[in-house]
C-alpha cells in the first residue's frame, strides 16, 4: 500500500465518522419544518466531498456505509425506517451519477442528490404505506430539496479547496 492509498483510507474513514456524527446531531435538532423525517442532509456533505476529491465509486462506499452505520447508531437497523433511508441513499446515488454525466455544477449536483434522496424515500413510503401521504408532502419535498440542496452545495463548495490541499 503506497502513501496515497493510506491517506485515502484514513480520509474516507474520517469522512464516514464525521457523516455519522452529523446524521446523529440532525436527529437531535428540533423539527423546524413540519415534514415527517425531514432532514437537512448534513451527512450528504461527506458523500459529495468524497465524490469531488476521489471518485464516484468512493462516494457510493461512503454513502452506503454511512446509511448502514447510522442505522446501527440510531437503533433502526433493518427496521422500516432503515429501508426508507436505504431507498433514499440508492436513488440519490443514481441521481449523483446522472448529474456527473450531465456535467452539472456542484450546486446542481447537490440539489439533484437531495431530490434523489427525497424521491427514493417517497417511493418506498408510497409503495409500502400510502401514496396520498407522499402527494400531500410533495411540494415541501421539492422545495426543501431545492433550498437545502443549494445550502449543502454551498458548504461543499467552501470545503472543496482546503480539503483538496489536505489530501495532496
Amino acid at each position: 500500500m503506497n502513501k496515497q492509498n493510506i491517506k485515502k483510507l484514513v480520509f474516507l474513514g474520517l469522512i464516514i465518522s464525521i457523516s455519522l456524527i452529523l446524521s446523529y446531531l440532525e436527529v437531535l435538532l428540533p423539527p423546524f419544518i413540519p415534514i415527517p423525517f425531514f432532514k437537512i442532509g448534513l451527512a450528504q456533505i461527506g458523500v459529495l466531498i468524497t465524490w469531488i476529491l476521489f471518485s464516484y465509486k468512493d462516494a457510493v462506499l461512503v454513502s452506503l456505509s454511512k446509511t448502514i452505520l447510522a442505522s446501527l447508531l440510531l437503533g433502526t437497523f433493518f427496521t422500516y425506517v432503515f429501508f426508507i433511508s436505504l431507498g433514499g441513499a440508492l436513488v440519490s446515488l443514481i441521481f449523483l451519477f446522472l448529474g456527473t454525466k450531465l456535467k452539472f455544477s456542484i450546486y446542481g449536483i447537490s440539489i439533484l442528490s437531495a431530490l434523489g434522496h427525497n424521491l427514493g424515500q417517497s417511493l418506498i413510503i408510497g409503495l409500502t404505506l400510502s401514496w396520498s401521504l407522499v402527494l400531500v408532502y410533495s411540494p415541501f419535498i421539492l422545495l426543501s430539496s431545492l433550498f437545502f440542496g443549494f445550502f449543502i452545495g454551498y458548504i461543499v463548495n467552501l470545503l472543496k479547496k482546503p480539503l483538496s490541499k489536505l489530501i495532496k
Binding site: 415527517p36 423525517f37 450531465l102 455544477s105 446542481g108 404505506l129 400531500v136
Partner: protein
C-alpha cells in the same frame, strides 16, 4: 452553470411552486380524523368532542388528544418522537405520521357546513 442545469432548476422551482399553490388552495379545516396503522383504519374521531384516548393495535399503542377541533399525538413508542413534537393538526392537507410505527392520522371530508357554523 450550464444551460440544461438552469432549465432543470427552473422546472423544479416552477413545479414545486404549482404544487404548493394547489396545496394551499385545496387545504381546508374539517372535523373527521382517521387514525390508521399500517394502512388499516383503526379509529375515526369526531374533532368536535374534546377527548384524550389511547388506541392499541397489535404492539403499537398511541395516546391522542382532541382539542379545539384539532388533534395531536401525546404518547407513542418511537425513537425520535417527531410525531409528538409536530403538535396539533386541523386541516385536510395536514397529516401526523409516525413512520417507525406506520401510524398516519389524517383529517378528511369537506367542511362547508362546519365553516358556516364557525361564522355563526
Amino acid at each position: 452553470m450550464k444551460k440544461n442545469e438552469i432549465v432543470f432548476l427552473l422546472v423544479l422551482a416552477v413545479l414545486s411552486g404549482l404544487l404548493l399553490l394547489f396545496f394551499l388552495l385545496t387545504n381546508n379545516a374539517s372535523t373527521k380524523a382517521i387514525i390508521s396503522i399500517d394502512n388499516q383504519e383503526i379509529a375515526t374521531l369526531d374533532l368536535n368532542k374534546n377527548i384524550i384516548k389511547t388506541f392499541t393495535d397489535g404492539h403499537v399503542s398511541l395516546k391522542v388528544e382532541v382539542k379545539n377541533k384539532s388533534i395531536r399525538i401525546i404518547e407513542i413508542d418511537c425513537p425520535n418522537h417527531l410525531c409528538v413534537k409536530q403538535g396539533f393538526i386541523q386541516t385536510t392537507k395536514e397529516k401526523i405520521v409516525c413512520l417507525p410505527n406506520k401510524v398516519i392520522i389524517s383529517i378528511e371530508g369537506k367542511n362547508n357546513e362546519e365553516n358556516l357554523d364557525g361564522v355563526q
